[in-house]
Symmetry: C2
Subunit: 361 residues, 2 copies
């Protein structure tokens, strides 16, 4: 049987502690050269959907120790609505019933069999949370007690859960531009974490004195500038454009998720304007991207394997940038979700024969 | 609804004439730069299956004019059994019920929605047949009447169907090493095509006087040498290793399927021996691969768009080498299969909601 899981199934079984643990364990294998990741590819094409482009994106990964391979696919209708001088990237839920399309397919390396098909949403959120959580675990001060977060969306929640999983936080302060959003977030997260999460009116209020500064937005340009950097701080971003390169330059240690951060771009000629390279439209954002040389930075596996230290003193400023995702993460976290969903009897079983064949070409 | 199709469904509706037509039409768009293909990636990893490796391969393509995108995935258990001095690449049907795993996922570029999931077998066979069929259409003599085929497997059948679709063949001669196989093939194909297909005992008997020489084997090294090249002949291969580079050198015009023929290799260190580069083990095969410079050859889209002529005289020797596949082919032919299957009421309908989500990460 092949299991079809929903985001609800995955959410019910997938905890942050164990997501961090499985990533840490499998990243060690990646560091040792016994794991495989195929860099993301983006096929960008015209769509009949108004003022939008179509994106077909995929990435693959194999975790041999878990006997699992994964392909993660996104089939997106993407728009770039303008707000003031900026354009924001907004995916449109254009599939039937106003839904988005992101899938993970899991395969057995022992038999080749398709083990499961699941939406990518919850796994994506958890793997981003867990990845930045590992950044905090290896780089933030052991005695970090306060965290600030810029952003109050779905990803921001996972960032706080992960931070609270690896450090004994006593206070969290949240800023995001929309007061209603940040207040709702504060209420939900306070209840969820059992730690006071305060909504504040200005980013300065959130950041002042924070041991850990978390950026978790969908911004297209820098939202965290050099003026906010403080000794002893750990800075964390879920997108590389969130942190101004001048802020990164102030860090004693800056670590990236992966050095090799160039997706394969397959773009129809003439579409390499706004759609393919949105950052062009916010000159600062684009300049920031240019200024960060990920290949020259240590990457997360270097921290986990002990090849580079995360922090060597309580006054050091550390910075972790989750620049790009890996198919490998979807194999590891997808495997965990499947393992736990099976144990809990969740999901729809369909005959594996539906997705296999008697011929091989 | 999302349609789950089987190879049987696809086989019932997908004809060679229209497969050739859809590829020809969509290749014209590819030539014009309005189609997208993401080169195949191969993740090769250890497997617990005895004496084998695990391969997770994927390729993507988008045909904007058909409003379809495709991801093709293979999840293979691969072995290299030795026969005499050679090793042959053999996929093992290790999935439940002794089955292979190859999938095509089709998506709508208008909504992002997953349209269908189907096994890749029949589409793969038809697109290889149709691709080499286009080679014949654009390069073989208009009055070609006899064809020889080396090979008697599943792919060989599609090669003959395609050849008979684009030329008025009157006689076909087949050689393959196993007498029982070639006799069974001869009987089946004679019935199917209504053209005598003779099984012969030596490759020479098949090739002598043949206007079209088809190679359709799973050989790892050259099976078609320069001694068999004749004026006016069209030579066709479904794998680049089948034709000795010395034979290609004798051709007045040699065209490849695609210039960019390097899949992305994601291989665990130390696995780049037999498993990753099998051709190393047959020195001749390896040398052949090295000798052919696909990037310097015209490609199929050049013929179809008229950028290069296919043949300019009846005594010219022409050669078409189907060196690598394209995700684009799976989008085009997959779309056709889906369109016809829907019209015929075939396939299993499952809720599209199973493969979509309300969140986007």
């Amino acid at each position: 049987m092949t299991l079809i899981l929903s985001n609800e199934d995955v959410e019910r079984v997938l905890g942050m502690d164990e997501t961090i643990a499985i990533l840490e364990e499998t990243y060690r294998e990646l560091a040792e050269g016994t794991g495989i990741s195929r860099v993301r590819s983006d096929c960008l094409a015209p769509t009949s959907h108004e003022d939008a482009i179509y994106g077909l994106k995929s990435m693959d990964g194999v975790v041999p120790s878990l006997e699992v391979g994964a392909v993660r696919i996104n089939s997106d209708i993407i728009t770039w609505p303008r707000t003031g001088n900026h354009r924001r990237r907004v995916k449109v839920p254009a599939a039937p019933n106003d839904r988005y399309v992101g899938l993970i397919l899991l395969f057995s390396t022992a038999s080749g069999a398709p083990l499961a098909i699941l939406p990518d949403g919850v796994v994506q959120r958890m793997r981003v949370g867990a990845t930045n959580g590992l950044g905090i675990k290896y780089m933030a001060r052991e005695d970090a007690r306060t965290a600030a977060i810029l952003g109050s969306g779905w990803q921001a929640g996972a960032q706080l859960i992960a931070a609270a999983s690896v450090r004994n936080l006593e206070e969290i302060r949240c800023f995001s531009p929309n007061a209603a959003h940040r207040q709702a977030f504060s209420q939900t997260m306070t209840g969820l974490l059992g730690i006071p999460v305060l909504a504040v009116d200005h980013p300065e209020e959130a950041l002042e004195g924070a041991d850990i500064a978390l950026c978790a937005t969908n911004a297209n340009s820098a939202i965290f500038g050099p003026e906010w950097v403080r000794p002893g701080q750990h800075i964390s971003a879920i997108k590389h454009v969130e942190i101004d390169s001048a802020a990164v330059a102030l860090a004693d240690r800056a670590v990236t998720h992966i050095k090799d951060s160039s997706p394969i771009h397959c773009v129809i000629e003439g579409m390499d304007g706004m759609e393919a390279l949105p950052s062009r439209y916010t000159a600062k954002g684009w300049a920031d991207i240019e200024a960060l040389d990920f290949a020259a930075m240590p990457e997360l596996t270097d921290l986990i394997s002990g090849r580079v230290p995360g922090r060597e003193g309580r006054h050091e400023i550390t910075c972790f940038i989750n620049n790009f995702g890996l198919g490998y993460q979807f194999a590891a976290v997808g495997w965990l979700a499947l393992d736990k969903a099976k144990a809990a009897g969740l999901g729809r079983e369909v005959p594996t024969d539906w997705f296999t064949e008697t011929v091989h070409p």
